[in-house]
Amino acid sequence: MLRIAANELRSLARDRAVRAVVAGYLFALLAASLVHMAGFLSAGESQAAQVGDLLLQRITSTQLVFLAALTPWLVLRLRHGGSTRDLVPEPAAMAVAPWQAVLGTLSALTACLFALLSASLPVLSMIRLFGATTYREIAWSLADALLLLLVLVVLVLGLRLNSRSRAASWAFSYVALGAVALGWHNAFSSMDRASSSMFLLLSLSFLALLLLVSANWSLRYPRIGR
């Protein structure tokens, strides 16, 4: 499974389009963070505490929007050479059960998204230096964002494995993105933070289990030749 994950990460790292998009994301994240921080620094002393409270929320929300838009593309970009069902590398198709191959892919995407989320850590650490937030708050925000993105990854992977065409995978994936965004908005507006995090964790566990079980059916007869 780790071999499959390493293989997928290597494939992503070699993809020029992925490198360009990641560079664009980092640039946009830096620009957005600087704009938000400029607002904080230019605020008067009486407003500083209020703006500081919002700063973490604003930066992580901006980052989440960028990454949520990027995630379906990233999942559908994996192993982009052939049909929608060619997620399993050829030797692995015969050697391991489909759920193990999908778990490898899921691990690779988790590592990738964790790295992309961690890109905001330097800026968030600076906010902490201003006394606007704590490390606990930062870690919680990033963990929530990662859980939400993983829910999206699991949905898009499931759609990709079960779609008949690439166009259908794309269309349904962005519909799923809309549904996840709506669900997240409703969950966070009606629940306290601990409850919404637990809700995300339970949703992710359930959907991931469903994906791994369904993978055994979707990839029961993988295509490994033309």
Binding site: S11, P91, M94, A95, Y221, I224, G225, R226
Partner: protein, 248 residues
């Protein structure tokens, strides 16, 4: 090792395999010789558990392979006629990846075979997307062997190879077979089947016409195949609907 009974396969209304029975003991090698479109590739895909037959029963090494395909797949090495690779990997990376996917149970691993001769002359840093058809076949065979399978299923493994590469592949397959590996291979050339297999199965229009031991002296496989196909064509011609009426 392989017990296939009454294997039939329809693509829509077209029958591509009709009630095929294949039995092969462990350590034996079987050549599938047939006309184009005779159903040999479909049979190999079914034996590799990559395609489900419309009807029939397949037992591989005592396991119901149609019910539990994931249990038998680790023991199989499959080389399709035109392998589909992930083009961003290099030859060396694919072979390393395949070796890492090796069957872990020591008692269940297939015979250790040196695959270097198969990829002789190939640059291991070359991307798989840049390989020619022949090089692709060599790499696919080396990757299948690197996993240590006990049963090798080959779909025309020599069709795109130059004579020197074909000779090296012959050597590697003989080595695999000599060490107890089981081989089923579809071939277009009778000479390859004669050189590499213990038994030959003749196919025509989705039917298995006959299975014969090759060890018997004086057996001209090409001639036998030709006469079987002619005989089968005549029988089919006689059974065509409306034929009796026209004869009258």
């Amino acid at each position: 090792m392989i017990k296939a009974r009454g294997i039939s396969k329809y693509h829509g209304r077209v029958q591509v395999l009709a009630d095929v029975d294949v039995t092969l003991a462990a350590g034996r090698s079987l050549g599938l010789l047939g006309t184009n479109g005779a159903g040999r590739t479909t049979l190999l895909n079914i034996l590799a558990t990559l395609v489900r037959p419309t009807s029939g029963h397949l037992d591989i090494d005592g396991t119901d392979a149609l019910r539990y395909p994931f249990r038998v797949r680790p023991d199989l090495g499959f080389v399709p006629q035109v392998p589909a690779f992930h083009g961003d990997m290099t030859v060396g990376e694919l072979l390393e990846f395949a070796a890492a996917m090796r069957v872990p149970a020591p008692g269940k691993a297939g015979p250790p075979v040196h695959t270097e001769p198969v990829c002789d002359g190939l640059d291991r840093a070359m991307p798989l997307s840049a390989l020619s058809a022949g090089s692709g076949q060599k790499v696919a065979l080396a990757a299948a062997l690197a996993r240590g399978p006990r049963l090798l299923l080959l779909d025309e493994p020599l069709s795109h190879l130059d004579p020197m590469a074909a000779s090296r592949v012959h050597g590697v397959l003989r080595d695999f077979h000599a060490q107890g590996g089981t081989v089923v291979m579809a071939c277009n050339r009778a000479a390859d089947v004669e050189a590499l297999c213990d038994e030959v199965a003749f196919f025509h229009r989705g039917r298995l016409l006959r299975t014969t031991e090759i060890g018997r002296s004086g057996l001209d496989i090409g001639a036998v195949f030709q006469s079987l196909v002619q005989e089968d064509s005549l029988v089919r011609e006689d059974h065509r609907p409306g034929r009796a009426g026209r004869d009258r």
